[in-house]
Symmetry: C2
Subunit: 348 residues, 2 copies
């Protein structure tokens, strides 16, 4: 048989190659780049095919597919969420994704997205905070010091000029791990033993915990006026982090209402509770923060367009970096109607 044609191959970015790409570009620089890509795609939001993610729930977790398309390129992400995985030594969230050409349906790139999701989530958080956080914010409290924490810290440093990160986790070992990883990265890192201590002086509060339950990471009396809350961890039905009373005092900003009302903090509120779509703030058709005393809340659940932006960014750097492997993934017979003949010829 002859070797597969060029059409048969799909470039694949492995975990190893993604790490090399991140280190080559630099973590902070790559998150700033991703934030710019995501912001640009939020500006052309109405153009995208949008659908709430397609979720398959079980007792202990969820597997989701998150597709979108801008009419030229199609992308989707496979992602799981299994809080109990940590006890088994596995990742709570793992992911991979694919880009394809809308004109032919042929895949353009397959990529690991566990690392890329961590980067794009933090990049999105910081990009949104740039629009919503109070002016001159320099201190961020970080409640939950798991796998996402360092990415958030560095994205806020790079994109929002945050200088001090105040860490708290119910598990002091997580805080110690996070503080250790952030050493020498240009941040003043303060490890705290209570959430209240972490909130001291913080103009931005990031919550990023992983329990699948309606937890109350922040109670109403812990949150003063004028802060920006970046609520990352509440991202599926039955999983929230903030007390309902905080939501009622906040201006709430979301990615895609049909998805956030099911998965986000606002699942605790009435289905018609007013929220603002971020793309409207970014494109200038809605108001962001109203005044210095307002509590702004980014009810982050993660949307397919952010993954699309991130995949396109990686795809754009493939040829220059060479950090990919060609996978023989697409059957490509010489005569497209002769799939059967291709198999027969493989026998020869």
């Amino acid at each position: 048989m002859s070797a597969p044609s060029r059409n048969a191959y799909v470039p694949f970015v492995s975990v190893d190659n993604m790490m090399k790409l991140v280190l080559h570009i630099g973590i902070e620089r790559m998150m700033a780049d991703l934030a710019a890509e995501i912001e640009a795609d939020f500006r052309r939001w109405p153009l995208f095919d949008k659908t709430p993610r397609v979720a398959s729930h079980s007792d202990i977790g969820v597997i989701e597919l998150m597709p979108t398309s801008d009419g030229e390129t199609y992308g989707f992400k496979y992602v799981n969420g299994h809080p109990s995985n940590m006890k088994k030594g596995l990742q709570t969230v793992t992911a991979f994704g694919l880009l394809a050409d809308v004109a032919t349906g042929y895949p353009l790139m397959l990529s690991e997205m566990t690392i890329l999701t961590a980067l794009r989530t933090a990049a999105t958080s910081a990009m949104v905070a740039k629009w919503l956080a109070p002016r001159g914010a320099t201190t961020m409290a970080m409640i939950g010091n798991g796998a996402q924490a360092e990415f958030q810290a560095l994205a806020f440093k790079e994109i929002c000029a945050i200088r001090e990160i105040r860490l708290y986790d119910i598990d002091p070992a997580a805080t110690a791990k996070c503080a250790r990883n952030l050493t020498g990265r240009g941040l003043n890192v303060v490890s705290c033993t209570t959430p209240e201590e972490a909130l001291l002086g913080a103009q931005i509060i990031t919550t990023c915990t992983a329990d699948k339950q309606n937890a109350t990471i922040l109670t109403d009396n812990m949150v003063g006026s004028g802060v920006h809350i970046n609520a990352v961890g509440g991202d599926c039905p039955g999983k929230t982090e903030l007390h309902r009373d905080i939501l009622l005092r906040s201006g709430i900003f979301v990615e895609y209402p049909p998805q956030t009302r099911i998965e986000g903090e606002i699942q605790q509120l009435a289905p018609d509770h007013p929220v603002t779509e971020l793309w409207q703030v970014i494109s200038g058709t809605a108001t962001g923060r109203q005044d210095a005393r307002q509590i702004t809340l980014f009810d982050s659940v993660g949307f397919a367009i952010e993954d699309f932006s991130a995949l396109r960014y990686v795809h754009g750097r493939l040829q220059a970096s060479g950090l990919y492997l060609d996978l023989d993934m697409i059957a490509d017979p010489d005569d497209p109607r002769d799939l059967f003949g291709m198999i027969l010829r493989a026998a020869a």
Copy 2:
């Protein structure tokens, strides 16, 4: 850095390895095996998570995700449909799929599915015909002699004891290709120059054309009583093959009504037109063919459970065959909360 752990790897079945697997097992034998797997999963139909496929349509094609789960294993397929691809020397349909462990969300196997879809589609058609076709059928007309045709012919030979295949395509080159590929395979192959000629003496009629339009491959006067129609090609909105009057004379059998009413031949009928679900026939709760004179119609569109069955079959043969490659696809840090530290250590 240390090498990735076992958890990092996902077995990948390339096109090359899928061809080797098919040749190792034998095409006919593999389709009979797949038909048995699919039939077994149809028997436990109510157990599956079912959703119509998630489609992203463009002017010239569609990209779809087809997920399902039996509560233990999750599977999905990515598949495109682009009739205009053939003119570009590309496949109309290409596909790949994934199985994952519901308990952890971790992928179990990634596989090419262009070839596997061709096999499972034909296996499903023949399995369904075993339940619905008139007794003693030995002759099948095949209208449309493209990439799916040989698979259909051999599946019907193996599973339904069909002995004569009568080929017709608007393009004689397609018929010639199909006849050539079927030579020496134990079938009496008759190449025809009109659809009417192909239908002569046929108890089973398979339509499998690829135009994206409401074509009329079969008109009402071409179809006599007592036949079984296996309508494979009408499988997306605006794409049908049969005249509406044939549908009105037929007992109609479908995979999953919410999907077939959008994509199948029955998109031409009222949304409440009675149809029978195949899983009920197979599990004994609904009647199949009522009598020798009835026209039975399998309005095939392809459902996620068939892909699931096929992926599980391939997965079950991985270890014995060794026909896979390990992909470093899942980020697997030593401490699951330390994704960031894993990247840092990769620098060393």
